[in-house]
């Protein structure tokens, strides 16, 4: 009876595959000795192990698929600059390319597609990529939608954050042990935040006898991505991204009345020395260095980073260092009762496509299918290899090996995985199970403080060619002007009395035209 049932199941599954149209491939689908794909992408985030070196997990993928990969890698921070120029030259393109500038900006994808550099993939996927077909057209139609260009073609596959968005959120990480030491409560309003930061500065919570604490700091090239988490106190959606989607309307947050109040608040923090005197460190590694000196009271990051900062701060050697604790706390609430809104990470990140120079697109699509959507290949890419990075329990669940969980070199889970080639950032299709395992129990618990307030960010819509041209010429000067003025307002170089003329100038530079373009894109998004 049981056998009969399982036979039926197999038959049903087989039928459903036929209906999807793509033929299942057999592994290896390539000939290891002759089949090679060139992939250009940013290098491993764990810099000591370049993809170009032999890494166990990537090598095992090569063996299983029978496709050798020639990695053409660049340091992640410089990848966009380097690859943009190379793609513009248009010769000797790699087979698969991470599309420069595409993280958070799908416009780039369509721009390269309309130049003919990327080829449409949907027919190839229908024909050769059974798992990918199922994923983007049946299981996660929202992913399929995010991958489809305005002309109806699919030009790219993208890093998928769905699995980790649900378990790890970004938010304010605060030295709660300093709160305890100074007898303070977790702040919930702008005023309480001010009091707490002031106490951090003046009452020497790290106990070394000097007022060297930096109560609040930021490290991004756009510091609002950290400071912005305080914006909720003024009715803004945090972090204060320029555009948000409010019931189908493209709203520019810089034009909201709360934005001026928010800048006024930050200016107060800055002038009283409660904020990093450099305004932004500009580099995440400098953030880690400051944490290791036990100086930072608060900044914003993903929940799993709390452990990292706390670990380095514990070793600083100040009287109170050993007690260091970073915990995620919720962004402050607004006085007028506006709900706290936190923008979640977008569904997709890095995008990659197949170029017109690819001699064997069929092979490229099959390879992408295997590493991205095939359960076996996807899991190898995420978890690594059984025995090396994880073991399988009796109930089928996985546990990290000591190499990952208690790494001899002190690496966190993500870095330990990356040191053997697993979890390559650019190509990961993160599942929920993986998300739960990647982030410790603690990170998930930390996230609980904020996850209920999350809303979707402004959807990533691929613009048409005219839109792209217009956005490019408008936003170049507007972006510079805005980042410059925001910094000037916060550091007090420009008085906040000039705020209205600041917005007026932006309108004069075509700010409204820009908003209209985003509105048009949003309308298109909802029409789908």
């Amino acid at each position: 009876m049981k056998k009969w049932l399982s036979m039926l199941l197999v038959a049903v599954m087989a039928l459903s595959l036929v209906s999807a149209g793509a033929e299942e491939y057999t592994l290896p689908f390539g000939n290891y000795d002759t089949d090679t794909l060139t992939i250009a992408c940013g290098d491993n985030y764990y810099a000591a192990a370049s993809y170009a070196e032999p890494l166990e997990v990537l090598e095992s993928i090569e063996k299983t698929t029978g496709v050798q990969i020639a990695w053409d890698v660049t340091v992640p921070s410089q990848y966009d600059e380097v690859m943009r120029v190379r793609l513009a030259a248009g010769v000797d393109l790699p087979d698969i390319v991470q599309i420069p500038g595409s993280y958070g900006n799908k416009g780039e994808v369509f721009s390269y597609a309309s130049q003919g550099i990327l080829i449409p993939l949907e027919d190839l996927i229908k024909q050769y990529a059974p798992n990918l077909s199922k994923l983007i057209w049946e299981e996660m139609p929202e992913l399929g939608e995010a991958l489809t260009a305005p002309d109806g073609h699919i030009y790219h596959i993208a890093q998928n954050f769905d699995g980790t968005n649900k378990v790890a959120s970004k938010g304010l990480l605060l030295r709660t042990d300093w709160l305890t030491a100074l007898n303070l409560e977790v702040p919930t309003t702008a005023d309480e935040w001010y009091t707490v930061l002031k106490a951090f500065k003046e009452q020497d919570p790290n106990g070394n006898g000097q007022a060297d604490e930096i109560p609040l700091t930021a490290f991004g090239s756009n510091p609002l991505s950290e400071y912005g988490y305080l914006g909720t106190a003024f009715g803004l959606a945090a972090p204060v991204a320029k555009y948000i989607d409010v019931d189908g309307a493209a709203v520019c947050q810089y034009d909201l009345p709360g934005f001026k109040d928010f800048l006024t608040f930050l200016n107060k923090l800055y002038t009283e020395g409660l904020m990093d005197p450099q305004y932004t460190l500009g580099d995440e590694s400098k953030m880690n260095a400051l944490c290791s000196k036990d100086l930072v009271g608060c900044s914003a990051h993903y929940a799993d980073i709390a452990e990292l900062w706390e670990g380095t701060a514990k070793q600083a050697g100040n009287p109170n260092s050993a007690a260091a604790e970073y915990h995620m706390v919720c962004s402050p609430k607004a006085e007028d009762g506006t709900e706290i809104r936190l923008l979640a990470r977008a569904l997709t990140g890095f995008c990659y496509g197949v170029t017109r120079d690819c001699k064997n697109p069929e092979l490229a699509v099959k390879w992408l299918d295997y590493i991205y959507a095939n359960p076996e290949g996807r899991d190898t890419m995420l978890y690594g290899l059984e025995g090396l990075t994880y073991t399988v329990n009796a109930d089928g669940s996985k546990t990290w090996t000591d190499f990952v969980a208690k790494n001899p070199d002190g690496l966190n889970v993500a870095s330990a995985l990356r040191s053997v080639g697993a979890f390559p950032a650019q190509f990961s299709n993160r599942t929920l199970d993986f998300g739960k395992m990647l982030y410790s129990q603690r990170a998930a618990e930390e996230s609980e403080a904020v996850v209920q307030y999350q809303i979707l960010p402004f959807p990533q819509v691929m613009g048409t060619e005219e839109e792209l041209d217009e956005i490019a010429s408008l936003s170049a000067d507007i972006d510079t002007y805005e980042s410059e003025m925001i910094q000037n307002f916060i550091t007090g170089q420009t008085s906040l009395d000039g705020f209205d003329s600041f917005r007026e100038t932006v309108r004069g530079m075509g700010g409204d035209d820009l908003t209209n373009i985003y509105q048009a894109q949003l309308d298109r998004y909802y029409q789908k």
């Binding site: 966009d80 600059e81 943009r84 120029v85 793609l87 513009a88 030259a89 248009g90 420069p100 500038g101 721009s111 390269y112 130049q115 003919g116 550099i117 060297d212 930096i214 020395g273 990093d276 005197p277 450099q278 305004y279 500009g282 400051l290 100086l295 490019a472 010429s473 170049a476 000067d477 510079t480 002007y481 980042s483 410059e484 925001i486 910094q487 000037n488 550091t491 170089q493 100038t505 004069g508 530079m509």
Partner: protein, 309 residues
């Protein structure tokens, strides 16, 4: 063949044949300029086209002067132009004369060994990469743990965010530039000074000139042609301020005084991928440079008889 005219005046070809070794000596330099400076000029076409990559420059559609118009109408046009000129002029006022003064002073030095030590020490910064120089500056001037700010705090002052304050940008930029380059740039003047005829100094001394008068009436006239040629070349570079160092040093808070045409070209062209627009801006820049160079050269030829051509 028997024409007496051609017989007397050898043809160009014959001249070349006679000078074949000289030409051979010049060839590497000539090839360098052809390959790296003349051939890429083809890319200037981009300034008049809407080039986005993916095709050849020639196949991109023509757009006329669209990019030039966009640049002239840009919100930042005035600021970029004035920043470029101001930084260039500051450079001219401070970086240009200091090597001359240094060379004159060094030339008067009696102790040869001391002179050598000073000269070597003053060259050294030239060999440090500009990235390292800016890194050193940033480390020393950091408001959180920099040496300078630690001193300021220890003496009771408030830490200064040097790199985030517009007022400090130009002094830091020019000051570090002078420090890094004055020793190296003085070499050419020292060379010119050593070629001065000792008989001139002797004659001046016999006429009763003191050290100061010798400098003013012998040394300076001796190196004046060198100074003028270098000045013409410097003016020809007025619009091309070294962008590498500015990119390393500036941040949005200092754009107001630091953003120059070449950094703008970098941001729009390389970071935003607007190749055509930034080519147009670069071309505009080069044209002004060329006009300045020709004008100053002509002026100098008329006034002082010293010129590059």
């Amino acid at each position: 063949m028997n024409n007496p005219l051609t017989a007397r005046r050898p043809s160009v070809w014959r001249k070349c044949l006679q000078a074949k070794y000289l030409i051979l000596l010049m060839l590497p330099g000539l090839i360098y300029y052809l390959v790296f400076h003349y051939a890429p000029m083809y890319g200037v076409l981009m300034a008049f086209k809407n080039y986005k990559g993916g095709t050849t420059i020639w196949n991109a559609p023509w757009v006329g002067l669209k990019w030039f118009q966009e640049f002239f109408e840009s919100y930042y046009f005035g600021r970029l132009l004035s920043n470029t000129l101001i930084i260039s002029l500051l450079n001219l006022v401070f970086s240009f004369p200091i090597p001359i003064l240094f060379a004159l002073a060094l030339h008067e030095m009696r102790s040869r060994s001391f002179k050598r030590v000073v000269q070597t020490v003053s060259y050294l910064p030239h060999f440090i990469s500009v990235v390292v120089i800016v890194g050193m500056l940033k480390a020393m001037l950091s408001p959180t743990d920099g040496v300078i700010n630690n001193l300021i705090r220890a003496s009771g002052g408030n830490a200064i965010n040097f790199f985030g304050t517009a007022d400090y940008f130009r002094p830091l930029y020019i000051g570090s530039d002078v420090w890094q380059s004055f020793g190296w740039n003085s070499i050419i003047y020292l060379a010119a000074l050593t070629s001065a005829d000792p008989a001139l100094y002797e004659a001046a001394r016999i006429d009763g000139a003191n050290r100061w008068q010798q400098i003013v009436h012998v040394s300076i006239p001796c190196i004046l042609p060198t100074i003028i040629i270098l000045l013409i070349m410097q003016l020809g570079r007025t619009m091309s301020v070294g962008y590498e160092k500015i990119i390393l040093m500036y941040e949005p808070a200092t754009y107001e005084v630091a953003d120059v045409i070449s950094t703008y070209v970098y941001r729009r062209g390389i970071l935003k991928g607007q190749f055509s627009f930034s080519t147009a801006v670069g071309l505009f820049n080069s044209v002004i440079n060329l006009v300045l160079l020709v004008a100053v050269n002509a002026l100098s030829r008329r006034v002082s008889d010293v010129s590059m051509w």
